[in-house]
Symmetry: C2
Subunit: 383 residues, 2 copies
Amino acid sequence: MIPPSRAGSRDGRLTALDRRFLARAVELGRGGWGRVHPNPMVGAVVACGGTVLGEARHEEFGGPHAEAAALAALGERARGATLYTSLEPCLHAGKTPPCTEAIRGAGVGRVVFWAAEPGAEAGGGGEWLRGRGVRVDGPFGERGGWAAENPVFFHRASSSRPYLALKLAVSLDGRIAPAGGGRVWLSGPEARAEGHRLRAGFDGILVGTRTWKADDPMLTARGAVTPRVPPAPVLLDRRGQATAGLRALKGEGGARAIVVAGPGAAGPLKRRLAGRAEVVAAGLAPQGLDLAAALEGLGGRGVGSVLCEGGGVLGASLLAERLVDRIYLFVAPVVVGDGGVPAFPLGDPGAPGARTPAFEGWQARLDPVRFGSDTLIVLDRGG
Amino acid sequence: MIPPSRAGSRDGRLTALDRRFLARAVELGRGGWGRVHPNPMVGAVVACGGTVLGEARHEEFGGPHAEAAALAALGERARGATLYTSLEPCLHAGKTPPCTEAIRGAGVGRVVFWAAEPGAEAGGGGEWLRGRGVRVDGPFGERGGWAAENPVFFHRASSSRPYLALKLAVSLDGRIAPAGGGRVWLSGPEARAEGHRLRAGFDGILVGTRTWKADDPMLTARGAVTPRVPPAPVLLDRRGQATAGLRALKGEGGARAIVVAGPGAAGPLKRRLAGRAEVVAAGLAPQGLDLAAALEGLGGRGVGSVLCEGGGVLGASLLAERLVDRIYLFVAPVVVGDGGVPAFPLGDPGAPGARTPAFEGWQARLDPVRFGSDTLIVLDRGG
């Protein structure tokens, strides 16, 4: 989705072929969605001239990295070839040996990488290789683009808060439900299937009180990707009203479940849900639960990324408090009408010509995708 | 944008290679935007096995068709090859000899085409070739998909009314302007450039009275495509208030200009604008000018396609009267707020769960495209 051609100053070094193979590496990497996190999604292409010798991706957390996998399959044939990878080769011996060693050992003549490794521990692979006589070109582009491809991974490098994405299905007039707020599918089946695929890439799936009370959702990832670790349903429950009979607390697929309760409610709830859900206590804010504190509590439980699926009040609160890092916006070709529930009830900017201040700084960095008659627009916050 | 793989029942005959070359033919054809209409945009690929021997598109109205151009460049090398084309080869001797003759003469072994030629006069090329021993595969897919690629061309085959597209730039909350309705660029420069490119493919660019009074727009196509025939600015002017000093009436690039006036206003206006604009008279409807009649009047003047660029009241009226065939919706990643001017002020559907009846039947058939941080969603009406 991100053409490496958008890149920054060093971009001129890249030929059209280089760009094509880098884009292919990025595309390959995406196939790791739901299987590699908290590692980044990475793809690698080994080519000689215009001919692709081999390709690989990081398939599974704990398994071989993309670069090492692509080179291992080629053996001696990789000697003198060019390795294209979507992320700077790691210099870090973690669950697998560092990719830099594999690259040097394979006798690769040139390495072209797109994104800079953000972690201090694993970073520096490019320089390390340069210091050993390998021609290395990269990084290209800028952090915003890299982060759009591996949002949770880059977020974690600079924030202790869980990464939060908000999924919204809206009409052309920006409504999430008709007047009265009844449950209605604005999106078609293809878009809903993509919603399930997206779930697989998150640690937790968050819904507000009204949503779990009204819909009793399962919050499982029943899509094209089976998540390596099933995401945890996360229910907000200020007053401690959740019961063990809720579908989200059934532990489908071995998933943990988490309930965030308000002051005074956490204790009784913990006893009532014993064995069915972890209970996180959060304080109160003027509008209800303190959402920032709730997120911190989730982070403390090892939930590094959260997909919020509603309802409307929760989504709007998260947006207003600027706690949302990404919006997955499925736009359906329908009009709900003036009485419908707005997705972005952020009030009037006041002065004509002004934009709503709470909604500054959003950008579309990934290309939109059509699912049936719906369009997925991915918006990322900040630069 | 339309993968031929979406197609209908005959689709099984196509190999992955066939699909790739057909998709390439469609993609090539798109390059004729603004230069070939009222002809269709058509691309052709000549291949032998997996190797492309030649490619061509219909470049210019009156010039060679894509199939003939691709074959002519190859001469004897086309013998026994496969010709892929986005539209059924024409059987019609018009400005150029029929493509069927060129195909037969070139000794092509197989023809694969995507869309069926809708015109009775030019149609039947596939059958004609089959009758002469050429293996012909096509059409594939269905009319809705073909029409999405060549909307004006297919529209004309079944309607006498001009094809009408509505361009809207909206915020995420479906607003076209902030409270008070002042002029503001919701879209970024890339989206605005695409708006200029789109203009090049239409016979007329339509705006309502408030828009030309407030903005005095030029309505010229100042984009990446120089239109073969510059589109005519079309101003609605119920009361006959247009003056010769308006920028849209300057005849930039040799463009004609048209003013649609209400009863009683047309005569004086014709005299006042003599030589600067054609004046079309239209009757009145409860809300203002009779828009259906205005469109008929434009059709009678040879305006086969119209791009309406606003304002909001005109766009909403055209939508409500179901006169819009396509919506080019540029979605900007901003929120205007509740006081903003809605793009789709179609009222409340009444019953919860209902969708606005005036807005039924829209579909996204083309893939969305990102322009900077804006997303272009193309919606087509009907099946």
